[in-house]
């Protein structure tokens, strides 16, 4: 029987609240004895996704909630981000590969997306009940 530890955080769409995200990831990393590198990678990917949602996802000025679930199994951490922002399929979004083209000319917005796709082992997106549900898996 697979046992899974779970932690969840709900933050509102205010960029200053990203600090809570950092504390949340650090707390989970300590509790689950994750390496510094895994912890940093999860923190980075969450910052990129959540800031993207907060900056570009909402067309009104209302308060919205973004929910983050972390689940740890033996050899991986699963991350689920649920929001009610505009449809955004990260898998279909513009990325850039780390190729020869001068990074100076690249659209910087694509960098965060590139981090998500590169640093995570699995990325799945679905739209359900007018919510974006992004599932990520990081092997540990």
């Amino acid at each position: 029987m697979l046992t899974m530890d779970k932690k969840e955080l709900t933050i509102v769409n205010d960029i200053a609240r990203l600090r809570e995200l950092q504390a949340f990831v650090e707390e989970a990393a300590d509790a689950w004895e994750l390496s510094m590198k895994v912890s940093m990678n999860i923190n980075l990917v969450l910052e990129e996704i959540i800031s993207n949602i907060i900056f570009y996802g909402y067309e009104d000025d209302s308060v919205h909630e973004i929910r983050i679930d972390l689940m740890k199994a033996d050899d991986e951490v699963k991350i689920i981000i649920t929001d009610d922002a505009a449809i955004f399929d990260i898998l279909a979004a513009e990325d850039f590969a780390g190729n020869e083209k001068a990074a100076e000319d690249r659209k910087i917005g694509g960098l965060g997306i590139h981090f998500v796709k590169t640093l995570m082992d699995k990325v799945e997106y679905r739209r359900e009940n007018e919510q974006n549900i992004l599932s990520l898996i990081k092997k540990i």
Partner: protein, 108 residues
Amino acid sequence: MNITESKAGEINIVSIEGRLDTTNYGELEHHLSSLTDNDEVQILLDLSQLEYISSSGLRILLMFLKKIKAAEGRFMLCSMSNDIKEIFEISGFINIFEIFDDQEAALK
């Protein structure tokens, strides 16, 4: 994030300690602008105490690289940890910055 500054000849050494992310990149921007606005365009960024960088932090570094190059200055980085270096590699930024192992190598 803590930012400290020192000077070695013409080179301004700026050391960053802690995290450089979406919530605080403005502090570094402000600090570097105060140098470039005074035509101080020989800058070495010591990243030995940098624990975390996100795309917002990288974006600021890229902005100053362009600005300093345009002013015919030099913007160098040194002493990054392996975890930070990996982020530079994945982003492709490893190839566009002058990166040194330590201050000594950069100042040579």
